[in-house]
Structures are given as structure tokens and as C-alpha cells.
């Protein structure tokens, strides 16, 4: 717990506490004997490195995780985990019937465990290394960092000069965990646990890793921000395409292949606890700051901008959705508040670090309207059983957000847009966004169809009807969510 200060002082040498510990600079005393001009130049370089820390730019020789940035990224990572466990588990869990609450929880936990192992083994490497392809762009990276080889506390300057690569890898892992967990919402209450786990396994490899690499990998095919050679010059701040569209569209298709829950449309499927759902909503909102503002991979001005946009969009959409209900149906519902907040968060995700506060408010208003229509009108028209509205909120919302980002992104807000995209920002960027939307849907739908039909043939997707009626908690986990009798035990 104590780890070194006293030791270091005792030994009289200020060695770096940074794990890899190469002394980043000559000891202070050494600077004196040098010729003054040289000494001054050396000092200036050292000062510039310190300023680079404050400004979150690349240092020359001071190689260490910068405390402020590292602190924020560790916090953000914890926040994104919090979104899934227990946030999403409660948000979704409250919406299912009592007899399926634990199945949702187990699906979230299962995703966390399974994805972690994939990520460690090869996922991180596949996403966040460059393929080295001659074209300068690629669909997947290399196996350079497989089994976290070479992933240490030293920053990886390709992604962030002041954040430990190991923390960055964990941060991104939390995204990889929540994405398949989002799918749970569409197929809730009727998919076999084993089938879902197998589906996630395949889906990560076929859909998520490629998409994440294409959008965020340094030589990603759709990484308009970071890869000058990207054929699709799209931008996605925190995962509108990678996270929300991919899960949302896959969820829709998987729900269609599964078919509706027994009794769907005939019997009322009421949320067994709106209290859990509201609790989960609060946690999702709080955790989403890690998701969006953390996507700056630094505690800098861009993070600040993303933080603000996230807040405004969530709060505004969280007001607009129930307001529409109030007008259209006479009562604002708590589920409306929750849905609005989540929709706001979803839609602002790709835009967060690129839009002004005014842009964020616009995002919020549209996020309150469009997913509302998708969840109420569209769903009723087409009669698919998207149990907890993963498609309506994440699929539609993510698509909307990706498109809006094309219109609202501004280089005044985020100077990085001036690097590779100066020509198209504010102009044709939305066309690139449309291409990214198309490619994302293609991967998501094709991967899902392939996997779902394969699994249906091999192990089957659904329990038999009576077991479904008895609930997945008992069937798949041998447990019940609640034993509330006074007489119990």
C-alpha cells in the first residue's frame, strides 16, 4: 500500500515510481555543469514535456503515465464497468418479469467474463494494433499484443501519450463488455443461456472486433479522425456505430430469428420493478461520463466538452420523452424518463467530443423524439418483439447519432477535426457517416444472421414453451430472484 516514497528518499535517488522505471530525465543536479545555453535548452525541453502533460500533447522524453490523465482514465474505466454491473443489469432486469430477472443478470455477468478472456487473448490486439497493411487501412489489427504481451503501464503513444496502455486496454475492454450485453435487451426472457453465450463468443470475433478496429484502430478503415488513409472518413467519438448500432441492429435481427416471447401481444408483460430500472438508469447516466468523457483518453478540454454534451443531451432527452407522453397520452411515465435519458446518452455518444453545447441540446431534443417514435409507433406497426427496446433505443438512436454527428461536428469545438478532416467537416462529413452506417449495419446483420442460424441448427436457441413460461431463472440457473416470504427458512 505504501509503495516507495520513503524508500526512494532513503536511497537518495529519485528513481521513477513508474513501474517500468527507466529514469526519464537526468537528475536535476546534473544539469548545472553544462554550458548555460545547453542547460537552458535542456530545461526548456523538460518544461515543454511538462506542459505537454497539462495540454495532453506528446512529450519528447518524459515517458510516464501522467497522474491527472491516468486518474481520470482509471475512474472512467470503473465508471464504464459500473454501467454494465450493476447498471445495465438493473435497468434491463427491472423491465423483465420476475421469473427472468436473474437470467438477465447472469447474461450481463457472463458477457463480462467471456469478453474479458477474449479481449485478453486476442481481442485487444486485434482492435488496437495496426495491421501494417500496405494500403494504410485495415479491418483488423495484428496479434502483436495477444495475451497482453507488451501491454504495460507505459503509455502507448498511438492512442494516448499520458495514459498507461494497460489502463487504456481495460478501458476499451469495458466497451467490449457492455456492447454484447446491450443485445440482451432484445432477446430477453426467451433465449437459452448457452445459446446466448455461444452467440456472444462468435459475435465479438465476427462483428465487434472488426468494427472497433475499423473505427478506432490507428489504421482503421473508417477511422476518419486518426487515419489519413481511411477510405471512409467517418468519426465516432465514443461508439455510436461500434457500440450502439452494432448491438442494436444485431439485436433486432436476433429477436426476429428467435421469434416473440410466448404470449407476446396477448398478455401484459409488465416490468417487475420499475424501481430497479430507474436505479439502473441513474447508474447508466453516471457511468456514461466514463464512457463519453473518458473517450477523450485524457482529462483535457475535449473530455470536458464531451462531459457537457453528454449531460445536456441526457437531461434534455430525459425531459422530452416524458413530455411527449404527457401530451400524447396524458401521463409522463417513469419508464419514459428512463428511456429518454438513455436515448439521449445513446444518441450523443458518437457526437459527444465533437459538438457544441447548442449541438448537444439539439441532439437531446431529437433523441427524445426519434427513439420514442421507434419504440412506440414503429414497433407497434411491425410487431417484432424487441423485448426491452434495444433496437428502438440503441439501434435507432445509434444510427441517428452517427448521422447527426456528421452535421453537428465542429472543428471549433474539437481541433483534431482539422487534421485529416478539415475539408469535409461541416460539409460532406455526413456522407461519410452514412457510409459508416452502411458498413456497420452490414457487419452487424451479416454476422448475426450467420451465427444465429448456425446456433439454431446446432444447439437450438430457445427453451421449450413450458420452460419459458416457468422462467429462465429456474431453468438456466436453478435460482429465483426473490424469496420474500416471512416464513422462508
Amino acid at each position: 500500500m505504501l509503495f516507495g516514497a520513503s524508500l526512494l528518499m532513503a536511497s537518495g535517488f529519485a528513481g521513477s515510481a513508474f513501474a517500468e522505471g527507466k529514469p526519464a530525465e537526468p537528475p536535476a543536479a546534473a544539469a548545472v555543469p553544462a554550458a548555460p545555453a545547453q542547460a537552458t535548452a535542456d530545461l526548456a525541453a523538460r518544461v515543454a514535456d511538462l506542459e505537454a502533460y497539462v495540454n495532453n500533447t506528446a512529450p519528447k522524453s518524459l515517458s510516464a503515465p501522467g497522474p491527472g490523465h491516468n486518474a481520470w482514465m482509471m475512474t472512467s474505466t470503473a465508471l464504464v464497468l459500473f454501467m454494465t454491473l450493476p447498471g445495465l443489469a438493473l435497468f434491463y432486469g427491472g423491465l423483465v418479469r420476475r421469473k427472468n430477472i436473474l437470467s438477465v443478470v447472469a447474461q450481463c455477468f457472463g458477457a463480462a467474463g467471456l469478453v474479458t478472456i477474449l479481449w485478453w487473448a486476442f481481442g485487444y490486439s486485434a482492435v488496437f494494433t495496426s495491421s501494417g497493411s500496405a494500403s494504410g487501412y485495415s479491418v483488423l489489427g495484428s496479434l502483436k499484443h495477444a495475451f497482453f504481451l507488451g501491454v504495460t503501464s507505459a503509455p502507448n503513444p498511438d492512442y494516448s501519450p499520458w495514459v498507461s496502455q494497460s489502463v487504456f486496454a481495460m478501458y476499451q475492454m469495458m466497451f467490449a463488455i457492455i456492447t454484447p450485453a446491450l443485445i440482451v435487451g432484445a432477446i430477453a426472457e426467451r433465449m437459452k443461456y448457452s445459446a446466448l453465450m455461444a452467440f456472444i463468443l462468435g459475435w465479438m470475433v465476427l462483428v465487434y472486433f472488426p468494427l472497433a478496429h475499423m473505427v478506432w484502430g490507428s489504421d482503421g478503415l473508417m477511422n476518419g479522425l486518426g487515419n489519413a488513409k481511411a477510405p471512409i472518413k467517418a468519426i465516432d467519438f465514443a461508439g455510436g456505430t461500434v457500440v450502439h448500432m452494432s448491438s442494436g441492429w444485431s439485436a433486432l435481427l436476433l429477436a426476429l430469428i428467435l421469434g416473440p416471447r410466448k404470449g407476446f401481444g396477448r398478455r401484459p408483460f409488465l416490468p417487475h420493478s420499475m424501481v430497479l430500472t430507474a436505479t439502473g438508469t441513474g447508474m447508466l447516466w453516471v457511468g456514461w461520463y466514463g464512457f463519453n468523457a473518458g473517450s477523450a483518453v485524457a482529462a483535457d478540454g475535449i473530455a470536458a466538452g464531451a462531459f457537457v454534451a453528454t449531460t445536456l443531451a441526457a437531461a434534455v432527452a430525459g425531459a422530452v420523452w416524458p413530455l411527449i407522453e404527457w401530451i400524447a397520452r396524458g401521463k409522463p411515465t417513469v419508464l419514459g424518463f428512463c428511456s429518454g435519458v438513455v436515448a439521449g446518452l445513446v444518441v450523443v455518444t458518437p457526437a459527444a467530443g465533437f459538438v457544441s453545447t447548442t449541438g448537444a441540446v439539439i441532439v437531446g431534443v431529437l433523441a427524445g423524439v426519434v427513439p420514442y417514435l421507434a419504440c412506440t409507433k414503429l414497433k407497434q406497426m411491425l410487431k417484432y418483439d424487441d423485448a426491452l427496446d434495444t433496437f428502438g433505443v440503441h439501434g435507432v438512436g445509434g444510427t441517428l447519432g452517427a448521422l447527426l454527428t456528421g452535421f453537428l461536428a465542429s472543428a471549433e469545438v474539437n481541433g483534431n477535426l482539422n487534421n485529416n478532416l478539415a475539408q469535409i467537416v461541416g460539409k460532406s462529413l455526413w456522407l461519410e457517416q452514412l457510409k459508416a452506417i452502411g458498413l456497420t449495419m452490414t457487419f452487424a446483420l451479416a454476422g448475426t444472421a450467420a451465427l444465429a442460424y448456425l446456433l439454431k441448427a446446432v444447439i437450438g436457441l430457445r427453451p421449450d414453451a413450458d420452460h419459458e413460461e416457468q422462467g429462465l431463472d429456474v431453468l438456466d440457473h436453478g435460482e429465483s430472484g426473490y424469496h420474500m416470504d416471512e416464513a422462508a427458512g
Binding site: R267, F269, T333, C375
Partner: protein, 112 residues
């Protein structure tokens, strides 16, 4: 001895209890139930879907009473539970073959 059983609106429980007690009912057992009847369900809206929830929350009240206060207790329940609006519920009366107080083993009237 009779068992008087009433299905009432939950928020009338307290009123009914007071009045039954005043009418000479020494005890009472209540439980939460869901009822379905002429009332029709209430419509609950959940995002995309609006459902008619057929079963509405009710409370079942059970009183074991001696024959001579049956009608007083019934009147007490009627007075306490009535709102005059649909869904006020029902009272049914059954005959008991036997009543026993567990603590003492007393039977019949003494057990009440």
C-alpha cells in the same frame, strides 16, 4: 360459527378493520390478492405497448365470527369498504365446522 370473507379495495382496509372491531369482531386476517370482475382492468402503458391489466390489487379480509354478530360484521364491512364506485368487491359467508385457538386448544365460541 361463520367465516366472513370480503374482497375490498386496498385503501379501505383500515376503515374496515376499525368498523369490524367496533362491531365485535375480535380478530381478522387479511391478505393481498388480485381481482378481476366487472371493473375491467386498468390500462398500463409501457413504452411501446399499452396493456389492459385485468387483475387489479385487492385485499381479502377474513373474519371468523360467532353466528350472532354475523350481520353486524357484514354491515361494518359494507360501511367501511363502500365507495359506491365499481370494484368495491364482494362479501361471502361460509359455515365453519370448528374453530380452535392454537395457544390454548379452546374450541368453538371460546376460541374466537
Amino acid at each position: 360459527m361463520k367465516k366472513i370473507e370480503a374482497i375490498i379495495k386496498p385503501f379501505k382496509t383500515d376503515d374496515v378493520k376499525q368498523r369490524v372491531y367496533a362491531a365485535g369482531g375480535k380478530g381478522m386476517t387479511v391478505s393481498e390478492v388480485k381481482g378481476f370482475g366487472r371493473t375491467g382492468g386498468k390500462r398500463e402503458v409501457y413504452r411501446g405497448s399499452s396493456y389492459v391489466v385485468d387483475f387489479v390489487p385487492k385485499v381479502r379480509v377474513q373474519c371468523f365470527v360467532d353466528d350472532d354478530i354475523v350481520s353486524q360484521v357484514i354491515d361494518a364491512i359494507l360501511a367501511g369498504a363502500r365507495t359506491g364506485e365499481i370494484g368495491d368487491g364482494k362479501i361471502v359467508v361460509t359455515s365453519l365446522d370448528e374453530v380452535i385457538r392454537i395457544r390454548t386448544g379452546e374450541r368453538g365460541r371460546d376460541a374466537l
